[in-house]
Symmetry: C2
C-alpha cells in the first residue's frame, strides 16, 4: 500500500488552472510550479494543452502570454471568442463570459479574434471607493 503513482506534470498544471478563477500568465505558472517542474516543461505542457484545446492563450497588454482553461467550447474549435479583461492596476486577467461580435472584412479570412479590455477591475474599483 501507499505506493501511489507520482502525479504527472501535466496533471499538476491542469489542477493549477482549476484552482484559479482568472487567467494565468506564463510567468505566474513558471514561478508557482518552480519546485515541481522545470520551466521548459511548463512551456511544453502549455503548448500541448493549447494544441489539444484544453486551454487557450492570448497576449496581455503587459507583453506576457496568458493562459486560461477553455470552458464550453469543444476542442479544436477556435472561434468561441470571449473577451479578456486586464486590470491595469492589479495586473490580473480574467475571461469575460460574453459573446463578442467579430466583424467581417471583405477579402480577408478571419480565423480567430481576441478582444482585450483594459481598465480597472471590480476589486480595484471597490478598494478605491
Amino acid at each position: 500500500m501507499g505506493s501511489r503513482k507520482k502525479t504527472k506534470p501535466l496533471m499538476i498544471l491542469l489542477q493549477t488552472f482549476e484552482g484559479s478563477n482568472g487567467a494565468l500568465s506564463s510567468v505566474e505558472l513558471v514561478n508557482q510550479l518552480r519546485e515541481k517542474m522545470n520551466k521548459t516543461t511548463v512551456y511544453r505542457i502549455l503548448q500541448r494543452l493549447e494544441e489539444g484545446g484544453d486551454i487557450h492563450s492570448f497576449m496581455g497588454k503587459d507583453g506576457l502570454k496568458w493562459y486560461a482553461k477553455c470552458k464550453g467550447n469543444k476542442k479544436g474549435q477556435k472561434m468561441d471568442a470571449h473577451p479578456h479583461f486586464q486590470c491595469s492596476y492589479c495586473g490580473k486577467v480574467q475571461c469575460m463570459d460574453l459573446e463578442i461580435s467579430v466583424p467581417t472584412i471583405p477579402g480577408y479570412q478571419i480565423d480567430e479574434a481576441e478582444l482585450l479590455l483594459i481598465g480597472r477591475c471590480k476589486n480595484c474599483l471597490e478598494e478605491l471607493a
Copy 2:
C-alpha cells in the same frame, strides 16, 4: 546653403510610419533603423510618441509589440478602438478602418479595448487563388 540641420531621430521614426501602410513591429523598426540610431533610442522615442498620442501600440499574436500611426483620433483620447488584423501566413499587421463595439461590464471600468483579428490577409489569399 546646404548646411541643413541633421534630421532628428524622432522625425526619422515618424517618417518611417508615413512610408508604411501597415503597422510596424518593434523588431522591424529596430532593424530598419539600425544604422540611423540605437535601439534604445528607438524604444524611447516610441514611448514618447505613444504618450504623446501620435502612435498607438498593441500586442500581436506573435508576442511582439506593434505600432501604428494614429489617424483620426486626437491626442490622449484612448477609445478610438479599431481592430487590428494579423495575417498568420505573412505575419503582417494592419489597422482596420472599422469601429468596434466595446462591451460594457457591470462593476468594471473599461478604459481601452484591443481587438486583434487573426487569419489570412488579402494578399496571401490572392496568392493562393
